[in-house]
């Protein structure tokens, strides 16, 4: 092991590799800061550029884009209120209000440090526990997956805002939206009504951009009109104090570690990933907080939880890929493809046959986390200049970026029509005080829930297996506890809201 580790480090710490990694980090941060431009797209675009590189240099460059991407989503989430990637949805809940309260620098600095610690924790766990954690993840059958999704769905209960019914409505609407298109088991077309647009279902990214970006931008225009409070999107204040933010981030050690562990675990479960981890980490932080009522208004705990949670999935996702050859997400699948291009077989023998490469990848994760930190700390002042850009520029430019993001995903013109439709619908929902985050969660979790429910019952028609298999039972109990706590909390909050 030591020999492989040193050999990997020897190959990694060369000028060309470190240079391409640095470029990868910068590209990942910038790409994810653009709404609609996902980490997956950035990785896919990087792949052809790595064909001529050595295997470790190629994969290290792609890992740099990957880790940079998780931090980049923070920028548009905090400064525009639009999640740059699905994994930064929860970051908008508190980072954006914090920025609107006149502290954009604090929001970004907290996010940068939280992202760094999340990536650091995940890289350390990856190095120590990759093989045993992978074995736990692979033991999850369809029953456990379904129960895990049920548990994840209970997050909706804490994202519902003022009305539990409205939150449930949008969450279930998300589940329904995910059923449109080809049935995941039989391939039967469902609710497509012979429209080409619906043949492959609603593309998740288009729904995400439409729901969050279009409705958010229209609210911005509305606010500008009603408040007449300056032309800027958020109050111009480029104060960026990284050391203060570091102290503040470290003042929530439990939140930081818990959120990072949630990220690592969710990342290690194939099919889950950063888009779920940030919401789950946020939810757990809110439940554990002494001041949950401050969440959603610019609470630092919310920013820390979401950003450390999503960044930690980068290491977690590599666990099943390295130990078992199972990609945890689309990004991991592209990383696998890049190794296969170099003739490296993926599977349990990877660590035995190419130990230097695997340990080189582990070290590349660590190095990328440090590089992202340095790049972000030096470039955030530049990004904060976004606060000086007037709304009259930001709103149309971001709308154009949304159109590009929606189109470039599948090169389909119909996707931009869908973007408009979903955007208008999202605007109507937000005008009527419907929370939009549960809808996104429903769209993400819907296909996983349905596939595993049907797979479980196809294997054995006995429903009781959901309750008799220990891990499944534990997850279901956790889900019930989670709902009971959320309802209790909701009922307690209502009388206090009425008295104030």
């Amino acid at each position: 092991m030591t020999e492989a580790l040193f050999s990997g480090m020897d190959q990694l710490f060369t000028l060309p590799t470190m240079l391409t990694m640095l470029l990868g980090v910068v590209a990942g941060v910038i790409a994810s800061a653009i709404p609609g431009f996902t980490i997956t797209m950035a990785i896919v675009l990087t792949l052809p550029l790595t064909f001529t590189m050595d295997p470790l240099q190629g994969i290290a460059t792609m890992l740099a884009v990957y880790v940079g991407g998780y931090s980049g989503g923070l920028i548009s989430a905090a400064l525009l209120g639009i999640p740059g990637t699905p994994s930064s949805v929860a970051t908008t809940f508190d980072a954006f209000p914090m920025a609107r309260n006149g502290e954009p620098g604090r929001a970004l600095a907290l996010g940068v440090w939280a992202s760094f610690f999340g990536a650091l924790v995940s890289a350390i766990i990856l190095i120590i526990a990759a093989p045993p954690l992978a074995m736990i993840a692979v033991k999850l059958g369809a029953w456990e997956y379904f129960s895990l999704i049920i548990f994840a769905m209970t997050v909706v209960a804490s994202l519902v805002g003022r009305s539990m019914l409205k939150g449930l409505m949008t969450g279930l609407l998300g589940l329904f939206i995910a059923t449109v298109g080809a049935d995941p088991m039989m391939g039967v077309a469902r609710f497509t009504f012979d429209f080409d647009l619906l043949a492959n279902g609603f593309p998740f990214l288009v729904v995400l951009i439409g729901i969050f970006a279009v409705s958010q931008l229209l609210q911005e225009v509305e606010d500008a009109e009603q408040t007449k409070r300056g032309k800027q999107l958020i109050p111009a204040n480029v104060a960026f104090k990284p050391l203060d933010a570091l102290r503040e981030t470290l003042s929530y050690p439990v939140n930081l570690i818990r959120s990072s562990l949630v990220g690592v675990f969710i990342g290690a479960v194939p099919g889950a990933g950063g888009s779920i981890a940030n919401l789950l980490a946020y939810d757990q932080a809110k439940r554990a907080s002494k001041t949950p009522e401050k969440f959603g208004t610019g609470a630092p705990e919310g920013v820390i939880a979401s950003e450390s949670g999503n960044s930690a999935t980068s290491g977690g996702g590599l666990i099943p890929m390295i130990a078992l050859g199972i990609p945890g997400s689309a990004v991991d699948a592209v990383l696998m493809a890049s190794l296969m291009v170099h003739g490296i077989g993926i599977g349990p023998r990877l660590i035995l046959d190419h130990g230097d490469l695997v340990y080189g990848m582990f070290m590349a994760m660590l190095l990328a986390a440090f590089m992202v930190l340095v790049v972000c700390l030096f470039s955030m002042r530049l990004f904060l200049r976004v606060t000086d850009v007037p709304r009259s520029v930001i709103v149309p430019v971001v709308l154009v970026c949304c159109v590009i993001g929606a189109f470039a995903l599948n090169n389909r013109i119909t996707d931009i029509y869908l973007l408009l439709g979903v955007g208008i619908f999202g605007y109507i929902l937000s005008k009527l005080d419907y929370p939009l985050a549960p809808l996104v969660l429903g769209v993400i979790l819907g296909p996983i829930a349905e596939t595993n429910l049907r797979r479980a019952l196809m294997t054995d028609e006995n429903w009781m297996l959901f309750f008799t298999r220990p891990i499944s039972l534990i997850l279901l109990i956790l889900a019930v506890v989670s709902v009971v706590f959320a309802i209790r909390h909701h009922l307690r909050q209502q009388p206090s809201e009425k008295t104030t």
Binding site: P97, L168, M186, F191, V221, E222, V393, I404, F407
Partner: protein, 181 residues
Amino acid sequence: MSSQAPSQQTRSSGRVADTNARRANALAHLVLNGILAALFVALFVHAGALPSSAWEPLGSGSFPRLVLAVLILINLAIMIHEWRRYRTEKAAAPGLVKRWLWRHRLAFGVLALFALYIAGVPALGFRLASLLFLALAQLMLGVRRPRSLAIAAVIAVTFSFGIDWLFRDVFIISLPRGPFS
């Protein structure tokens, strides 16, 4: 410093100030949830016709039907709640809709322009449609002074022709061309 975002403060204070809007808000809920409930009932019936499988106890339609059934119930529950609210609130003062539309004129204007832009992308191509959208939207949002107009023109060209070049020549992704490319 306030603990709430300025926009939230404005929205909530606006809500309190315009008590007339509560009845209209309840009516809007009744209309939206009524339409959604009817749509979900139709989809529930449609899902019943989806094929089942000999290999699994749940067919294609079971999971969507389960979700749709709960959605119908929730929509009905919201409608009952809003109907009660509608009956207890006082009637809105005349001209409420007109005032509301006037207050949202800029948002609706941008939305209409965005819809035209999306419709124009296949017809004019990405470059030209984006150029026109960016120029007109910036004008609509209040760019008036000569220096701002010059900056707006640079932004419009950069984010239409510049972005198109970046995607076509660097990322090898072709954005919609249109007849003038």
